[in-house]
Amino acid sequence: MATALTTTLESRPTARQGLEAEDFDNVVRQHQRQVYRVLFLLTHNAETADTLTQETFLRAYQSRASFRGECALNTWLLRIAANLAQDHGRNRRAGFWKRLVGFGDDTTQAQVEFPDPLPSPERVLLARKELEAVWKTAMSLPARQRTIFLLRFAEEMSLPEIADVMGLRMGSVKTHLFRAVSSVRDKLKEQRWR
């Protein structure tokens, strides 16, 4: 049964679209915002997202010959970005013990600063509080659930796209998403009744 969770794949390029060395600047121009946004979502740190965005395009340039248009260009780029974010997360966890002494809790980095939205004070404040609550809840999810949850609800990617980016099967993506939604629901309920 077709549901919103199984929306169709976006149209795919025919062959090596825009991946010649001469056009690479255009590729960067077109996709840098989305790559940065996703990396910001996954790393929760602006500086890291910037560095990893650069690294993503560098890796894409290095392996541009391997892109044969089997998936959308942005999906391919986001796959590289997601792998880099995953490696970064691993390295960060490996450095946890080093930071443990003197530098406090690792989770402080997970606090994302949202800019003050434009006008309408009370409503905006309330929305902002809700958003921060969702964000905080999302941050407490296991890494894979969190990534899938954020790609679905913050980046609004379809499940097939997420499966492509994460290199997972659709069924696995769905399972992770259902678990994530369930955890978020429970935690938000708890916070609401506190």
Binding site: T3, L5, D25, F40, A49, D50, E130, L131, L150, V181
Partner: protein
């Protein structure tokens, strides 16, 4: 009496993602309706929030592009220099191998074409210059003449001198 179950996580996730309800439970259940509307409201602000959080000034993106370009340029230069080094090494190896193979072969000198007349002349000259009996002296002179005719100058002039003396 059958107890109706609330929405499962799967149904809830599907609804949150904009899908249609798979049963009409939601229409009857106030609790699920509240759940869905609360979560929907909370999640709906996420895309906008993340977009405004990453809505950075133009110069940020320009700087980022420049950084990417410069890193690519550095990488390309390094790749080219490596490629140059590899080519130079390969060329040197080929040259060394060629020299080695060439040196291994015995040098072959070009063989001059044997001239039978010249050989005959040399043989005669040799015979003449070796111990020649007096009786064969004119033949020696004749051989000398022939030789000088072949070689040219000095002998010819001597012959002319002798002719002049005879006169």
């Amino acid at each position: 009496m059958e107890i109706e179950k609330h929405l499962s996580d799967e149904e809830l996730a599907n609804l949150l993602a904009g899908g249609n309800p798979q049963s009409n439970h939601l229409e009857r259940c106030k609790s699920c309706q509240l759940d869905v509307s609360f979560l929907r409201a909370s999640l709906s602000s996420m895309p906008e929030a993340i977009r405004s959080a990453t809505d950075l000034p133009h110069f940020f993106w320009q700087r980022q592009r420049a950084a990417i370009q410069s890193r690519i340029a550095v990488q390309e230069a390094s790749r080219r220099s490596w490629a140059g080094l590899v080519w130079a090494s390969a060329a040197s190896l080929i040259l060394i191998a060629a020299l080695f193979l060439n040196g291994a072969k015995s040098p072959s000198r070009p063989q001059a074409q044997a001239d039978p007349d010249q050989d005959l002349l040399l043989a005669v000259e040799y015979a003449v210059q070796s111990d020649v009996p007096e009786s064969l002296a004119p033949a020696a002179l004749l051989a000398e003449d022939i030789r000088s005719a072949v070689e040219g100058s000095p002998a010819t002039s001597r012959h002319q001198k002798e002719k002049a003396n005879e006169n």
